[in-house]
Symmetry: C2
Subunit: 351 residues, 2 copies
């Protein structure tokens, strides 16, 4: 798909490594007042506001492992690579400020493909108000690798770690779960159909939400502001990249607590429910272990319940218990099942 056979395309070698960086970086403007110097020196220079701490996170995306370019447009890939990192900043209850972007790319990609990728990165950076302050562009012997580091700031008392969940705290999730995983299933199925019949016209109308959640996820930049407005300080927080159960277990282990999670409280979009029926999948399993939702999971004191209960962005899905009580899912049938990292096998348990 991206083989550089089209002679109207520009081989990367024509620009050279420096030329490519200059070419791609020329569109990046600095907007954060904490950025003193962006691209163009040995290092970027940042001036964090007085009294603020920094959060730093990094993620690497590898072609053939994290993305498939046969259905992931490069622009979307660039956008998503930024989201994956910003989500980790927001999961600390911090404000994202800067990113650096390193890319290794084989010469099968023309310059125009890199422009597509960078335009997605630029769109994400502009929308989420982060500066692209540095990076590296290099050749690779095969495939595409993207490594992004994101930096954010917050006052020390605002920063939410995984370690602060207390007995009786409420377990809260933003948005809804499972859609990104089902979007991937739909895209994989269409890829197989296309292989057999390249002229097929897929009707993806009823999967739009699922596909969008897979191809163009949005990190929850809004939640930090919302919680501040509601005057709620989460006692712990994490982003949901690997599925709800795995993230709940991270919080419980880090905080040395247990939990009860209620199956009937897990927020699901109607498209998730209908696609699960179609694919013969259990929607709870998908929500628990689907992954890539980039929603936030956090705990709050029960005193804060009145402040959050009416908010359409937030759903209370359970509560924290003593560590000795373990981590459990309370099913719709009111049975108590141990929560495991890679979800709960509905098939096994329903026997």
């Amino acid at each position: 798909m991206f083989e550089n056979k089209d002679t109207s395309k520009t081989p990367i070698a024509q620009l050279g490594e420096f030329g490519l960086i200059d070419h791609l970086a020329k569109n990046f403007e600095i907007s954060s007042k904490t950025t003193v110097k962006g691209i163009g020196d040995d290092a970027a220079v940042l001036a964090p506001e007085k009294g603020k701490q920094l959060v730093v996170t990094t993620d690497m995306l590898v072609e053939g492992v994290h993305f498939d370019l046969s259905y992931m447009p490069l622009k979307h890939l660039g956008y998503k690579a930024v989201m994956v990192n910003l989500s980790d900043v927001y999961a600390m209850n911090a404000t994202a400020q800067q990113i650096t972007v390193s890319i290794a790319v084989s010469n099968r990609f023309p310059v125009e493909a890199m422009e597509e990728l960078y335009s997605g990165i630029q769109t994400a950076a502009a929308l989420y108000k982060v500066d692209v302050v540095g990076g590296d562009t290099t050749s690779s012997t095969s495939g595409l690798v993207i490594s992004i580091t994101a930096i954010g700031t917050a006052t020390p008392e605002k920063i939410a770690y995984r370690t602060g969940a207390k007995e009786n705290d409420l377990l809260v999730v933003t948005g809804d779960l499972g859609a990104a995983y089902l979007g991937l299933q739909v895209l994989e199925r269409e890829k197989q159909v296309y292989k057999v019949n390249p002229n097929s016209q897929p009707d993806l109308e009823k999967y739009t939400y699922l596909i969008e959640r897979q191809l163009k996820p949005e990190a929850r930049k809004d939640i930090g502001g919302l919680l501040a407005e509601l005057e709620v300080q989460p006692t712990s927080m994490i982003d949901i990249s690997d599925g709800l159960s795995s993230e709940i277990i991270h919080i419980c282990k880090s905080s040395a607590v247990g939990c009860n999670l209620y199956e009937d409280k897990i927020p699901l979009d109607p498209q998730v429910i209908s696609a699960c029926e179609e694919f013969n999948l259990d929607s709870t399993t998908i929500a628990l272990s689907g992954g890539e939702d980039y929603e936030l999971l956090f705990t709050v004191s029960t005193e804060d319940f009145p402040k959050i209960k009416a908010n359409p962005n937030l759903t209370v899905i359970g509560h924290i218990t003593k560590e000795s009580e373990g981590m459990h899912l309370i099913t719709r049938a009111n049975t108590k099942i141990p929560l495991i990292a890679r979800g709960w096998n509905a098939m096994e348990e329903s026997e």
Copy 2:
């Protein structure tokens, strides 16, 4: 060399991605007082000292492009990957504090190989007093990719940009140049010899310095402290990763100045001179365009000359001129030759 055919080795899949991170990260301790939280949450948390700014830099190393595992031991590779990044921090006249390390690795590498790589990273981090505060470990479809981000701090008035060189300033370089490139030539030659005769016993005694500069470069952590001690604030600074001429041109273009560089002043190690004779290479060309020396190049006001002239770590190699005068090399024969980004072709000019 690292094919995982040895059944006594542990396949990465046996630990899983989380297991591998936990396994590798367990040796990393936090020592910098600016590190609040290292590995183990969505992001690391840093608390820069009051009045300090941050510098952030990132570099990616790709197997088959930046390193060849047939002569680069994994431990050295880990060490060098850290040096490449710290060198950029020191080139800002800042103190390195933290790094994040992301690695994509194919399953041909056993866990033991990753341990080797990380032990090099850990050795470098301990020696240079930086904390490994985060990272990502993922599989790749082929080869090894290492992406490191380094963070440092400095007061705003200490930070040295590429943009501050002024007419008449002196051009100063640390250490000596060209050895890393020649080390690579020696290793490449031995690799070819080994291919023909695997039983050959190479005598590398007379190349020890060259090979060490290629396989185990040291970033100039000492120079920031030395300059502070001498009460010298560089007007501009850059690290020498791509060869002297390319870096001088970066400074001159960024500062809108010209320069005269004196061929007879370029510091060369005796091993560089003798290896150049053996390989029939021009030592000036090697110093100008060899690369990977990880020395620092900077400019100082002429008023500071008395403070630096006796220092064995520092060599004045030229001076800054008006932009309109251009960038030139003054040869031993006292001819003036325009400096070009990829060095100066001695063969052409000597005709």
